[in-house]
Symmetry: C2
Subunit: 432 residues, 2 copies
């Protein structure tokens, strides 16, 4: 029986936008959508300053889908606008074979380029019925949904239990430290660490899940998923003009994030500068992930005043204490000692800023009938030793929020700069 | 310190649409949105045939948000159009006090009416700083996102370990059976059963999670969450004109679902008719939930032909074997023996149909590095004994899909008819 359908054999592929490889079959073409590249003047400073809008991308009436460019100086998914959903995966490398790892990274890069363009992995309609499909298929017919895929390398890729596994030890950045233990940490090793991470963000979770799953599949025999995390609601924004989202404590907590279009702030706080470490990290950034469980039930029994004292903001408006509006400049001295905003504010930390990109999570219920929920904190920075570490030391010591949260997962990754053109691959400068 | 902000004290509340209670503060009013009721001719047959569209509901450029009416003959969330996201919770009643349970159900109903209207639980701006806020706050500023809340009562509410806990034993419907054990079942008690369920569906997961959380909070001391499940991608649709979504196996599997506007089919297959059981269930429906884990990694290594043979459909188009288009009438005899569509099709089951409303889930990774993912199957029917049970007996015995899936959670609930007007409450006819 011929398993191919007539429509699957239709070669009506759209013209690939410039800079994108021709290898993938368009998911749109498959269901008969037209694809026409239209340049938009919107993207993160320092990235390729154009996103691709495809007319007729979505169902009638829906907003058109904008692809976020894969090829750029910096990796997408850091300064680019934050999408609605997250699937984050940390992988362990299970092979000692460097060539196999390099091949996988090349294959991953190709797959990432086509998936972020809303296209299907592999040869699509020309696949053999006797072979597993190249693409697992659950995103067929869906647009890219602004998918970004961001890769990072963990400390254990460079050295594990004293072993230089892939000849990379000398290339480990000094900034890629083993994170210190902070007060109150209660880390689950099964939700911490990892040799390689991939952050998949998209407006449609099916697209983000599809991307991680297909990378995991391509990596079979080379990597295993060590842990993964789904995030359903962004808690920070890199587009300051947008409404600040609320975390699961009901508070706006990302008001003063770095803007994705503020090239000065990104250069100062996010991107690794030339000469700051190994060459392969120039233009990259260091990512810290923390799974922060919230004691939701305790919080929900807490008075409004205590909740606001803990943050140093009003709950409804998000205004700093004694101020009227969310974006009014805070009077830190008017906030209670140990309030979260007072402690975390740049003015209390010599101007220190990190780019936050966290998501809320709810993973069902724990064994005690409590919501297993909280914040999956993601932060990008130029040097973790000078950013997340001192900030978290300060917060872990004094933050009033500590009564209501617990850090249960932690990881640290060096995210290289972006892929600039087809043919380059994730980790090329590191392994090359 | 006065924790209230000026904008929070602004009483600019919109006119509540007719049939909605005045108790809640509009989340929209809080951030200055106007609310104007505009009737739309769209809803499920047999329900109140109007949805409420509010102008200026969402951010500029976004599609306006349509509220799904809470007051209707049948509960919303069954035949009404399927939303994008799910948070499903099963609760255990922890008290033996019937009055406390009744009070909670009244409070739940009030909260459900305001939350499905995009409004905030409780007194909002007039709350005391010394008391916990009535609403946990994380949905402030968000529209209703088509939120529906659907309640059901499990067998153990009527009798548990031989005890008639709340004097309800005589009112237990015969159709609310303890589900039989099916071949291959591998049920986790911690993810099965429950005295009461609430299905929260919305296009925004933050809204669905917020709703369940606030109900859990209102129920403190009366109920505990026994288990809960987040679903991120609908796998079935009750609007047949829409594109059929794909499950995590990459297949369209909800093509021939019951349409939410097909009053004949709903009357025949979904709604309990007068005299078919206890009076309190007339106009209600029976819900079966099954957590179906997919062996994703095995599936992904399976050839396209085997995958298509398992379903009896092509993967790309979703066409039945020997046919060209997804919606072509299937030739069941042309499908492999034991293929899923052949076994599950109404023509193989004396015309039997169930209304499916399932969602894909991904709950991270299991301890073996495999995706903890699959289908959270939800099906509504007029009589489970004549619908899910014979169908699942047939599938569990012969479905080729069984090699790739496992049922790991199961529950059964009697969902009463809808709340017709303010003042009525969930379970009134049962407890009254």
């Amino acid at each position: 029986m011929n398993a191919e359908t007539p429509s699957a054999a239709d070669p009506g592929q759209p013209t690939a936008p410039s800079g994108e490889p021709q290898g993938g079959v368009s998911r749109r073409a498959v269901i008969g959508w037209a694809g026409a590249g239209v340049a938009l003047g919107a993207a993160a400073a320092g990235s390729v300053a154009a996103a691709t809008l495809r007319d007729g991308d979505s169902a009638p009436g829906a907003a058109p889908s904008v692809d976020i460019p894969f090829y750029s100086d910096h990796q997408s998914g850091i300064a680019t606008p934050v999408q609605d959903r997250l699937h984050f995966a940390a992988f362990d490398v299970t092979t000692g074979n460097r060539d196999a790892l390099v091949k996988m990274l090349k294959d991953w890069t190709k797959a990432a380029a086509v998936m972020t363009g809303g296209r299907e992995v592999g040869s699509g309609a020309t696949g053999l019925a006797e072979a597993p499909p190249d693409d697992t298929g659950e995103a067929l017919g869906l647009p890219s949904s602004r998918l970004t895929l961001t890769v990072g390398f963990g400390p254990t890729l460079f050295e594990k239990d004293g072993v230089d596994r892939f000849g990379l030890r000398a290339k480990r950045p000094e900034a890629l430290i083993d994170l210190p233990k902070f007060p109150h940490d209660n880390l689950d090793p099964a939700r911490s660490g990892g040799d390689i991470c991939v952050q998949a963000c998209a407006d449609d979770p099916q697209v983000a899940v599809h991307a991680i799953r297909n990378l995991a599949r391509i990596g079979m025999g080379v990597v295993n998923v060590r842990w993964s995390q789904l995030g359903f609601g962004k808690t920070s924004s890199t587009t300051p003009e947008a409404q600040t989202p609320r975390n699961l404590m009901g508070f706006k907590d990302g008001t003063h994030n770095i803007s994705g279009t503020d090239a000065d702030a990104l250069g100062k706080h996010v991107w690794v500068a030339p000469g700051e470490g190994p060459e392969w990290m120039t233009g990259g950034s260091y990512l810290v992930s923390r799974r922060i469980r919230m004691h939701i039930e305790t919080w929900d029994r807490t008075s409004l005043k205590e909740q606001e004292d803990v943050f140093g903001r009003t709950k409804r408006e998000g205004a700093p204490y004694t101020k009227q509006q969310e974006r009014d400049a805070p009077d830190l001295g008017a906030m209670p000692e140990g309030s979260h905003v007072r402690l975390a504010h740049p003015d209390s930390n010599d101007g220190l800023m990190i780019l936050r990109r966290g998501f809320s999570f709810t993973d069902g219920t724990d064994g005690l009938g409590r919501l297993e929920a909280g914040l999956f904190f993601l932060a990008y920075q130029r040097d973790t030793r000078k950013a997340f570490v001192p900030l978290q030391q300060r917060l872990a010591a004094s933050d009033r929020l500590n009564e209501y949260i617990q850090h249960v997962g932690s990881a640290h990754f060096a995210c290289p700069p972006g892929i600039r053109k087809p043919g380059e691959w994730w980790g090329q400068a590191l392994f090359g």
